[in-house]
Amino acid sequence: MLGTGILQGLIVTAKNFVGSFHDPARYTTLEYPEVKPALPEAYRNFPFLVCDNATDPMGTLRCVACQICEKECPPQCIYIEKSRDKKPDATGKLQIYPAVFAIDTSVCMSCQICVEVCPFDAIKMDQVFEIATTDRYAALLLDRGQLTKPNAYFHTIHPTEAAEVDARLTADRQAAEEKARAAALAKAKTPAASPAPAAPVAKRDQTLESAP
């Protein structure tokens, strides 16, 4: 009969109206500025640089300015300049570091490819999204100082991934140390042997290995 479909629809809306007062499934609003969204661990917005020590962020940057992310970044929003000298990193080894590391967040598309290609676990994705601003240039171009955040912060936003990374890094470091120790032993045995090769670059997993 004419009107039954309309009545059915009216019943649905009425149910939702009443339900919005007692049923959380029918009242889904999060009062945003007061209630912050529960971001999932995997959430990514813009990249940041990881440093190992919060008190000395520039001295403990993991980034060695290899510029892979700069090359791989699809929208080309990363700009890196290598340093000419070397500074000791967190483990005390001399490394090249980024003299300039800038990310233009007004271009970045949060694709995470820089994170995926980074062999040093130096760049990770941040979760801060409240960055609306009135100033296009000053506030949206992040330089090295603004980008650097300590590993502890990384742990707070991506605990699982951070733990994995830390475990891998320590394992790599131990392996390298053992290798160095073995090399040193070997060297002690055969003083003529060539010095131990540089510590291998930490590899995340197999898929990252590049062919050429």
Binding site: I6, G9, L10, V12, F17, S20, Y27, T28
Partner: protein, 401 residues
């Protein structure tokens, strides 16, 4: 001006009238009439102005609740100042008149519309003693006053010099003309049975109760219920509300005749739409829902204007509810619905009402026959016409591969 006091009145009941008389009493005799009228106009303007403001908020909040969200709640306490923020903004917004527009008509359209939509309130009896103008021909006046809205909508659409507006103006003309007829025809049974065109007398005719709790409202008779339904459908269309909001169809014609209006003129259109809605709902309350009458003898102590307001609000809630649910009709379907469905039904309803008033003397088993005949006169044409109207469209079943 004061309707005949039917029952002993409480102080609350007479409060508005007393307030008016107190004020006019301060003035010399010759000014009384003018001051009284002015006060009534101011009261209606203030009352319905406030109602308009909060109706917009209520619409937004109720729509929100239906859509699982709270709606405006940040401007003032629970968002109660939201309409005023909107008002301040609309007042201070730049007023743009398109280059090719007909400036005079572009300006006149909203003004005429608001003025005209306010006229109808003059004859609505808001309470036992509350009617601005006692007219013998009140119902006729009400609909005569309402007709000029079409002109205003047309003026707006035509003057904007915009094709969407022009299409909207054509649609508005076609729609309003088509629904004027069923609207008027659905009122005629009430006039026929009540034997008067005066709104106060129509309300008075619906006074009293059977068994103390079944009021003698027209809506509780078969023809009255049908008439009420038909009137409300036509009223929906006349006030351009969903599902009949074709002239300002957002998804088709941008905003139709409103496309070129900004700032306060736009707010005026908005206001007129709500005033029209209130006026038509008020008329429906008067004609079918017993006006200011209480639904039960036990509840008579509540002032009559409270009852009127309550009934009005319920109808307005219905408007909002329907808007939140239904999709829009197409123009040809709209016309078909008016001419092939509403008009025949209203005509039959007229006959039904005539039969009802002729058989008023029937009692006992004849009373049952009277009800059965009247009910079937409502139900059978509805089903039959509904079938023909929706012929060819039905939910389908599908095959799977």
């Amino acid at each position: 001006m004061i309707a005949a006091a039917l029952t002993p009145d409480s102080f609350l009941e007479r409060l508005p009238v007393l307030a008016r008389d107190t004020v006019t009493g301060l003035l010399p005799e010759s000014w009384c009439w003018l001051a009284g009228s002015l006060l009534e106009i101011i009261a209606i303007l203030a009352g319905f102005g406030l109602l308009f403001a909060y109706l917009t908020l209520a619409e937004r909040k109720i729509l929100g609740r239906i859509q699982n969200r709270p709606g405006p709640n940040r401007t003032g306490w629970f968002g109660l100042l939201q309409p005023f923020a909107d008002g301040v903004k609309a007042l201070t917004k730049e007023d743009v008149v398109p280059a090719g527009a007909d400036r005079v008509l572009h300006f006149l359209a909203p003004v005429v519309l608001v003025a005209v939509s306010l006229l109808g309130f003059a004859v609505l009896p808001f309470g036992r003693h509350l009617v601005a103008v006692e007219l013998d021909t009140a119902v006729l006046y009400f609909f005569a006053a309402g007709t000029a809205t079409e002109l205003a909508v047309f003026m707006a659409g035509w003057a904007s010099h915009n094709k969407y507006s022009l299409l909207a103006a054509m649609r508005a003309l076609a729609q309003l003309i088509s629904y004027e007829l069923p609207l008027l025809l659905s009122v005629v049974p009430v006039v026929l049975v009540a034997g008067t065109l005066s709104t106060t007398k129509i309300v008075a005719a619906q006074g009293g109760w059977s068994l103390g709790f079944v009021p003698h409202w027209h809506v509780f008779t078969p023809w009255g219920a049908a008439g009420f339904g038909l009137f409300m459908v036509a009223a929906l269309a006349e006030s351009n509300r969903s599902p009949f909001d074709l002239p300002e169809a957002e998804s088709e014609l941008i905003a139709g005749h409103l496309t070129e209006y900004s700032g306060f003129k736009y707010a005026l259109f908005f206001m007129a739409e709500y005033f029209g809605m209130c006026a038509l709902s008020g008329m429906a309350v008067t004609l079918f829902l017993g006006g200011w009458g209480a639904p039960s003898a036990l509840l008579e102590w509540i002032p009559s204007y409270a009852w009127f307001t309550a009934k009005l609000l319920v109808l307005l809630l219905g408007f909002i509810w329907i808007r939140a649910t239904l999709p829009r009709l197409r123009l040809d379907q709209l016309m078909k619905f008016a001419w092939k469905f509403l008009v025949p039904l209203t005509l039959l309803n007229l006959a039904n009402a005539a039969g009802w008033s002729l058989t008023a003397g029937w009692t006992g088993p004849l009373q049952l026959v009277r009800w059965a005949v009247a009910l079937s006169l409502v139900a059978v044409p509805f089903v039959v016409l509904g079938r023909t109207l929706s012929a060819g469209s039905a939910p389908r079943t599908y095959r799977f591969a």
